[in-house]
């Protein structure tokens, strides 16, 4: 019982990170119908720049957090302006190759700037782990889950209450119609890129104290975040959260109860399962065409 509780705690921790990454994927897909294979690299950029800003640059945690997220969001918008908007034939295959090219490029940049060694970061607060029924709950886990909920609530309010958020949703439904109604749809897409990559950076920042961060950490995180987004339903905010948490918990239980070799396989087995059974995800917002 105590062991299972421990697995669930660590599952929720990694699940919350997958959820934040998945929300980034989902948001972007929602407003641009594009899957950004470089998303994991933005997570890496967020984590490493946060470590650099709070370590060698001695900035307080909060300002390091905002600076690195804002910086990564700017890189994301630059990426949209330079590499996505200029595409002549925006079909899925071309966009997949471009974002894959961007991910290789960013990984190369990460290697040049931060070197090949892994970096680490002390936890946000020095609070000792809580003891619940014999299972240890790290303070960092509470931080991660709290930040995930704050972000989800913020996004929900942004979409429902602000004019910009509503305009963005209008763009997601139909870019042309939104443009006709006076919404600057190109700017909205730019903004969506900024938000989505910024969200990736948040995931990177909150994961930095609990894992080794190196220039190659992004690929696997990105793919798993992607699986989580698919699991919950691509394009749905709450679906992505549920998908992320579910993936994290099942992964931790699979590792603990069956075999550690299963760790990376869980995400992809779940991905295939959901694609075969219900490709629109647990919470479906889109209708997937199947032949």
């Amino acid at each position: 019982m105590q062991e299972i509780l421990q697995y669930i705690f660590s599952g929720i921790t990694s699940g919350a990170i997958y959820a934040v990454i998945a929300v980034g994927f989902s948001m972007l897909y929602n407003s641009t119908e594009l899957i950004n294979f470089a998303h994991g690299e933005f997570v890496m950029l967020g984590a490493l720049s946060f470590i650099t800003l709070s370590g060698p640059f001695q900035l307080p945690l909060l300002s390091a957090f905002f600076l690195s997220v804002a910086g990564v969001a700017c890189i994301g918008m630059l990426f949209e302006r330079l590499a996505i908007r200029t595409v002549r034939e925006p079909n899925p295959i071309v966009l997949i190759i471009i974002t894959v090219g961007a991910s290789i490029f960013l990984r190369g940049v990460g290697m040049l700037v931060w070197g090949k060694d892994a970096h680490t970061m002390p936890p946000f607060s020095k609070h000792p782990p809580l003891d619940i029924e014999g299972a240890k709950l790290l303070a960092q886990s509470i931080w991660i889950v709290a930040i995930m909920f704050l972000m989800a609530a913020g996004l929900h309010l942004f979409y429902k209450k602000t004019l910009t958020g509503k305009a963005m949703q209008a763009c997601a439904i139909s870019q042309k119609a939104a443009w006709l109604a006076g919404i600057p749809s190109k700017f909205m897409i730019l903004l969506a890129f900024g938000l989505s990559t910024g969200m990736g950076a948040v995931a990177g920042v909150i994961i930095s104290p609990i894992t080794m961060c190196g220039y190659d950490m992004g690929t696997m995180l990105g793919l798993k975040g992607f699986c989580a987004a698919m699991l919950g339903g691509l394009g749905s905010l709450w679906g992505s959260l549920i998908g992320g948490l579910l993936l994290g918990i099942l992964e931790a239980l699979g590792v603990g109860l069956i075999s550690s070799g299963l760790k990376d396989a869980t995400a992809f087995l779940l991905l295939l399962f959901i694609l075969y059974v219900r490709p629109s995800g647990i919470i479906s917002s889109v209708n997937v065409e199947r032949f």
Partner: protein
């Protein structure tokens, strides 16, 4: 001048170039590089049939490449079976797995199909890494025997080069024949619009499955040739990055073009060799090249360069 005539000349020209290269190039490193180009051409050719002609993306083709390599490794080392019997076994196993996976996966389309094939590729990669009692695990599989045929040994670089390029030529001809047939026209109709194709009586799901299985067979052949060339295989060769590299070969070379597969495979095999001089900047430059080709020539190099040529000819005539 009718088309088939030109095709025949092109094959003869490629065959002549292959034979001449084999005679003229004696540097072992260059021969091996050219052999790798041949293997990559087989991979790109198979995926091009699926992606370029039928318009179905696969982000997990390294799985079939790996299945080909691991099948022959396991059969020849653990069971001491002749490699020439392992070859059909490797191809058949890859085809069978492609069939089983293809039935549910090919129902999906667009990004969802990409994700389904990606998931399959990752699972096979993890299987190679974790099933260590059979595959040797993460440290790899050693001791794969060299190929021999009667008195002819393919252990030398030149003989292996001829063997691989013989297979490449054969595959080029097979693909050309398929594309020019009724099946080929059916495939292209799927590319242009699956609903329309169904409406005019093309059995799209059957056809997609067939071309998926065919491309898996080509990839398994490439895997077989790779395993007996380097005698050592490890899971890292058959990961997600490899799948992406195969897709890149197809797209950069030019989709729906047999010669595009050849061009793309050649470029993508040679590019890392050229980029070695950039050392630290290798990944940055590689990523930039990938992005800029897709931004400026989304049809790939063969089609894109041809368009530029035709446009310049038109402006001259004016």
């Amino acid at each position: 001048m009718n088309k088939p005539y030109w095709y025949r000349i092109a094959y003869v020209a490629v065959a002549a170039i292959v034979i001449l290269t084999g005679i003229l190039v004696s540097n072992a490193y260059y021969l091996q590089l050219l052999t790798f180009i041949g293997i990559n051409t087989l991979l790109a050719l198979g995926l091009n049939m699926l992606m370029g002609y039928a318009g179905q993306i696969s982000l997990g083709h390294a799985a079939f490449y790996g299945i080909g390599a691991y099948t022959t490794a396991i059969l020849t080392v653990h069971y001491a079976i002749s490699p020439w019997l392992a070859l059909p076994a490797a191809i058949l196993i890859a085809m069978a797995i492609a069939y089983i996976v293809g039935v549910p996966t090919l129902k999906l389309s667009g990004y969802y199909l990409g994700m389904g094939t990606l998931g399959f590729g990752m699972i096979i990669h993890i299987l190679f890494r974790e099933w260590s009692s059979i595959t040797g695990g993460a440290s790899g599989f050693i001791g794969i025997p060299p190929l021999e045929f009667g008195p002819v040994s393919f252990a030398s670089g030149r003989n292996y080069f001829y063997l691989v390029w013989g297979f490449v030529l054969l595959s080029l001809i097979i693909c050309r024949r398929i594309i020019d047939s009724r099946v080929g026209r059916g495939l292209r109709s799927i590319h242009d619009g699956e609903k329309t194709a169904r409406a005019v009586g093309v059995d799209t799901s059957q056809l997609k499955l067939q071309v998926f299985v065919l491309s898996a067979a080509f990839s398994a052949l490439a895997g077989f040739l790779y395993a007996h060339l380097v005698y050592f295989i490890s899971p890292g060769t058959f990961d997600f990055i490899t799948s992406i590299r195969i897709v890149t070969m197809v797209v950069i070379g030019g989709m729906a073009s047999i010669w595009g597969a050849l061009l793309g495979a050649s470029l993508l095999t040679l590019l890392p060799e050229w980029l070695h001089s950039f050392s630290e900047f290798e990944m940055v430059v590689y990523g930039l090249i990938l992005m800029s080709v897709m931004i400026f020539l989304p049809q790939g190099l063969t089609r894109g360069l041809m368009d530029i040529y035709e446009r310049s000819k038109k402006s001259q005539n004016r």
